[in-house]
Structure formats: C-alpha cells, structure tokens
Assembly symmetry: C2
DNA sequence: TCAGTTACATGCACTCATGTATGTAACTGA
DNA sequence: TCAGTTACATACATGAGTGCATGTAACTGA
C-alpha cells in the first residue's frame, strides 16, 4: 500500500519516541543507547539520525511529548488541597514518570545535559510543585509547607518504585493514607489544625 | 623512605576507595569509570586491578567502607521520635550519601548490579527506615506512619540536593521545620495528636 | 644479599556506542 | 512518467571503556 511521506515520518517518529520512553523506563538513562531504542522501535539507526540530530535530540523530543501525554491523562487539579495532592500523585505514580526521573537524575550529573533537557524537566517539576498555584489559599504558610512536604514524600515514594522495578513499597499505602487524611483535614476545617501544625 | 608492603597496599586502597566515592558524588554512577577513579586517586588502572577484581569490586568495597564511615559520623539515634528524625536526616543530608543514592538508583536499573551491591544498599536503607526500631513506641501506628512519611520526605529532599549539585532546595528548611515540629509534638504529648493524625 | 613475592605500571586486543558518509528504496510534483 | 526529494538502511572510521597479559620496581625472609 502507498503511504504519504508525512505518514511514514510520523509513524516512525512515534515508534522512536515510544521506544525511547520504554527503554528509559526499563533500562535507565545510561543504558538507553541508540541501538537499543532503534531495535525496540523496529528501525535502524539511520532512521533515528534522519529524524533527529542524535540520540539526545530524540530523548529531548520524547520527554517533551511525554509531558503532554501525562498532562493529558492527569488533567487539571481540583481546587482543593486534597485535589492538589491527588493530582501530584497521579502524575508521579504513572509508570512513565520513571523516564522523567531518569532524565532528572542524569541531568544532575551532567551540566551539558542539564542545559539541553533542563527546560523539559523543569516543566515536570511544576506538576508536583505548588509554587505556581493560582489558588491563594495554597499560599498560606501551613498549607504551603504541608504541600511541599507532601511533594517530597511523593517523590520519595516514586523513587522507591523506580528502584524496585515499578513495584510499590510496602508502606506506600499507609503513607498515602496519612497524607490524604491530612489534606482532607486542611480542606475541611483548616482553622482547627492551624494551631497544631504551624 | 622504606614502607612495608601492607602500608603501600592500604594507602593505595584508601586512595582508590576515597576517589571512587568522590567520583561517584561528582559524576554519577555511569560516568564513574576505572580511568576516572584511578586518575583521581593518582594511580594507574593496574593498581586497581591488582587490589580489586574489577571496577565493580572497588565500588562495592567503597560503599561498604562508606557505610561504616557514615555510621561512625551519625552515631546511634536518640530514643525519641525527634531523635530518629534527626538521625535519619544527618545520614541522608551527608554529601557522601549521594554516592549511596547513585548506587541505589543504578542497581534499580541493572538486576546483575543489584545482586552484587544490593546488600550494601540494603544496609543504608535501614539507616532511614524505622522498620527495625527497637523502640516499641515506634511501632505504634500513628508514630510509625509519621516516621515512614518523614523518611520519604527526607529522601525526596536528598534527591533534590543530589540533582542540584548538593545545593539544598529553597523549601528544604521549611519542610524540615515542619517535620521536626511534628516529631516534637509526638514526643511531648503523643496522646493529644493521636485523635488528629491517626 | 639474593631468591621469591608483592605492588604496581604498561601495552594490547576486544567490545560497544557514536558520527559520518553513501547507497537505495519510496514518494511527489510537474 | 520521470527528475527530484524524502525516508530510510548500510558501511566505515573513531574513541572510550574494559579484561588480560606482561614487564618492572619495591619489599620480605632466610
């Protein structure tokens, strides 16, 4: 069958991007080599080099598209503290988030890499950071500190998953329950807890 | 001057172990190559291969010694919840802990590596995990969940430092203050909070 | 003091990942 | 339909990292 050039390009680009994310998840940043990605995508290195300047270019594009994908699946957060918590956890617990953490971690060890993929990683950081919250209530010290602490805890849990082949830690549920309980408490009767937690 | 063989061996082994940790901290696991470590230690690859079977063997030994070093500097935790928190943070915020996280992260992506350095990494995990607490009070659900949540938050903060060349995040102090406040509250009047946080 | 052992240094072969041609199909427009 | 362009695949050169083998200097014990 006859396919247009644009169809050919977009399908192989999609295959490469998907493969890149998948290899990142399964093997980590260092083991994500051009040959590995191409084999996984069912194309040769020539195809990769034709569509992207090099492996780094593909990975940057892949992370960019992954951000859009994750944004699309997690939606926008509800306007409550519990909503912000759940929203962050939905993003962070997505199995594809490991690819983001791989990039984040690798960029921390390589200044040059940080310059190339830093912007994408920064976009992901806003997903779990309430720093840019539009909700004025989130700026209140007690709430802000809780959300920041929760953010770190969620990242810790995500790191636990990432280092355990995606399996959640045994105490993950308990920690999440505690955080959710606190979030609900903030939402329900924030004034009651202010004296206790600030 | 004349030095005994044992002196020669121990000094170069110490140089290699120190260099290995330092390169791990500065460049990360993937960039920690035998040549890099040897250059940093001021010896040749021949010396490394003479004292260790390969680079992996050196890194395993280095992590083993690092565990003893960190244990020695952080001491044993005080018998309070605040003490457990501070103890864990002292260990996790040590700049050398980044080497541990590098190993931990790398092992998560390489099953073979996990088998070789898994035991060492597991030892470090107990440093920040209250799972093996001798104190019966730590087993109480509310306390246990708080410590687990704190553990994840501390690891999140450590990850933030690791990915920022060791610089602490802007909100690190606020998060730590909140955790310390909660820990103190648990210690001071645990019963008061039980109704709120469990 | 000297034969034997230990502690390194040096050199070579091999693998692997990458960048750079160059070749060849598949499409497109006139 | 065919010249030109796009989308790949293949081949080659290069450099980095490692394991191994060999060479040499420093120590040790008799």
């Amino acid at each position: 069958m006859r396919r247009t050039q644009e169809e050919r390009s977009s399908t192989t680009q999609a295959a490469l991007v998907d493969a890149a994310i998948e290899v990142l998840i399964q093997r980590g940043w260092a083991a994500t080599t051009a040959a590995q990605v191409c084999e996984h995508a069912g194309v040769t290195r020539g195809a990769l080099l034709h569509h992207y300047p090099n492996l780094g270019g593909l990975l940057a594009s892949a992370l960019d598209r992954l951000y859009d994908d994750i944004i699309a699946t997690v939606g926008t957060p509800a306007d409550t503290i519990r909503g912000a918590l759940d929203h962050a956890w939905t993003a962070v617990s997505d199995r594809r988030f490991k690819a983001v953490m791989e990039a984040w971690w690798a960029a921390g060890n390589d200044p040059e890499l940080a310059r190339s993929i830093g912007p994408v990683v920064a976009k992901f950081a806003t997903l779990v950071s309430p720093a840019n919250a539009t909700n004025a209530q989130f700026r209140e010290p007690a709430v802000a500190v809780f959300l920041l602490t929760a953010r770190e805890a969620l990242l810790g849990l995500a790191m636990g998953r990432a280092t355990s082949a995606g399996r959640s830690l045994g105490h993950e549920a308990a920690v999440l329950d505690a955080l959710r309980w606190q979030a609900d408490a903030f939402d329900a009767h924030r004034s009651d807890l202010e004296g206790v937690l600030t």
